[in-house]
Symmetry: C2
Subunit: 322 residues, 2 copies
């Protein structure tokens, strides 16, 4: 019998903080994360999956909280020598991080699916939650900017999101197959909520929603679909969400995020500081302190989402919440 109680759609750091909250608030096999792979890219001949690896490191308690990405207790000898050799150094790869990329690249070349590899990595790190790539098919987020169309990591890391963004598209999404385990998770019997994590709606969540079947699966969900704002108080906690919303001509508010997900969500969790922008919004709203500076903060937000889900849907079949 499935033990799944929460499915969360997530990008990188911001989303992973909420994943950590559910992972702590519930029994560890209660969570499935459907993670964006639109940021994945080939670099130095290696397949790198930034958002998935952030989920692995966060739930495996291996993340570098200070740096905001990568592993803690990391060394950087590889990068130092690579620079000496004149190799590309704009994307920082720690020595331990590299092990994932090398092992993944080898196994992909041997014909294994990304999802199977990530499942093994998660088990190796002692993670009982499911970390699911949105698809085993390659989907590449492409960023159309005033400086031309860019591959995602060129835009995001190499150019530090500098060029003004005009639009995004997700190459390969049309023909990709939603990961069967993700599809199954969304209809799991004991499910209480589907959560859109506080990741960048345009860069991190839209690629997931672009996989055929994903939007319909959310619309057809038997449990409440709840988004958590990535711009509490009209500011991005980290990263370019606010900058991008500005460039797209969208007001940087939780209300804009709710509008962005209209038709897919049953409610949105906004920050206490967002009460003024939620006036008259015809999508159910709940307010909480949505900042997650530490594990306790993550757990607090996760519990706020679970309480909101119960209130919205009465979908708590298990009755064992809290």
């Amino acid at each position: 019998m499935s033990t799944l109680r929460v499915v969360a759609l997530s990008g990188g750091v911001g989303g992973a903080k909420l994943l950590r909250g559910f992972y702590r608030a519930l029994p560890p096999d209660s969570l499935a994360a459907i993670v964006n792979t639109g940021d994945d890219f080939a670099h130095l001949g290696l397949r790198i999956c930034p958002d998935i690896d952030t989920a692995l490191y966060t739930l495996g308690d291996l993340a570098n909280a200070v740096q905001g990405w990568g592993r803690r207790d990391e060394t950087w000898t590889f990068m130092r020598v690579l620079k000496e050799l004149g190799g590309e150094s704009w994307f920082a790869l720690g020595d331990g991080d590299l092990a994932l990329h090398v092992a993944r690249t080898l196994r992909l070349a041997q014909g294994e699916n990304l999802s199977a590899i990530i499942g093994d990595f998660a088990r190796s790190f002692g993670i009982a939650a499911q970390i699911l790539p949105m698809s085993d098919d390659a989907i590449a987020t492409r960023v159309v900017t005033e400086a031309g169309e860019l591959a995602f990591q060129d835009y995001f890391v190499r150019l530090h999101c500098g060029p003004k963004l005009k639009s995004l598209h997700f190459a390969g999404a049309d023909t990709a197959t939603l990961l069967p385990a993700a599809r199954a998770a969304l209809v799991a019997r004991e499910l209480e909520a589907i959560v859109i994590a506080p990741s960048n709606p345009y860069l991190s969540i839209d690629p997931i929603l672009a996989v055929p079947g994903m939007r319909n699966a959310l619309k057809a969900a038997a449990v409440p679909v709840i988004a958590v704002t990535p711009v509490p108080g009209g500011k991005a906690v980290k990263g370019p969400t606010a900058k991008i919303m500005g460039e797209l001509g969208i007001a940087v508010t939780g209300r804009s995020v709710a509008e962005h997900y209209r038709g897919l969500i049953d409610g949105i969790l906004l920050d206490e500081s967002d009460r003024s922008v939620a006036h008259d919004l015809d999508i159910p709203v709940e307010f909480a302190d949505t900042l997650m500076p530490d594990a306790a903060g993550s757990e607090r937000v996760a519990n706020a989402v679970l309480a909101f889900a119960r209130k919205l849907g009465g979908q708590n079949r298990g009755g064992t919440l809290e």
Copy 2:
């Protein structure tokens, strides 16, 4: 005008010690090393060239002298995480070492020749000597043992040379092309000596000699070809040379090494402790302390080879020796 004065055929650690000697004893652009690539292999999806990298690290003053292989100031985070992920860990790859393998693999996949890549690596490390793979074509040393036929590194590292050796062959050698730069080095105008370094004759030098044209180039050389014994006093300094000679039914002596190279060499430098086995040998012999425990020792042996070459051939055109 060529400044080359010495060309040395070399395998890994033992050979690299003598390379270091010539590199110190002569102006730094006086040396070309033709290095064995029969040990090269694909591991974890990466192309690894153990003997070439040992030459790079040794001449770049980056080698780990205590360990006898790899880099000094190395870290091991990659291997630690790779083991956690269940990856193959029998071949130890340091974090800095890994940069060479990743950069090389990428550039090979992009269609570059190994020799061009190694030339760039050598320049990056500030090495003025030429480090030349024997060929840009793949040649794989195969070890026929009582436990069946094995790939070289399976035999050498994974199985610690355990299975009794019966014979060796060099897959791909028949159709390989001797590196043009190596061929040119062997006829360089200012050349004083061609040296067969004290590497394992069967595992490290025979693959080089198996490249079509190599034996004839040595036979046709205008300068003395001098071997240096890898078994001073009938013992291998390091590695399985003595074990292998025993398994092949060959007496572990410098005389056996001279016989092995008969027809190719004009002389052999044996150790002071080898005088008894050289009696009646009809190949010119010189004796010296051939141990190279440190840089000064390497330089001492290099100078002994150069003096031997002068004595044998009077080929010292430059007149600037010492």
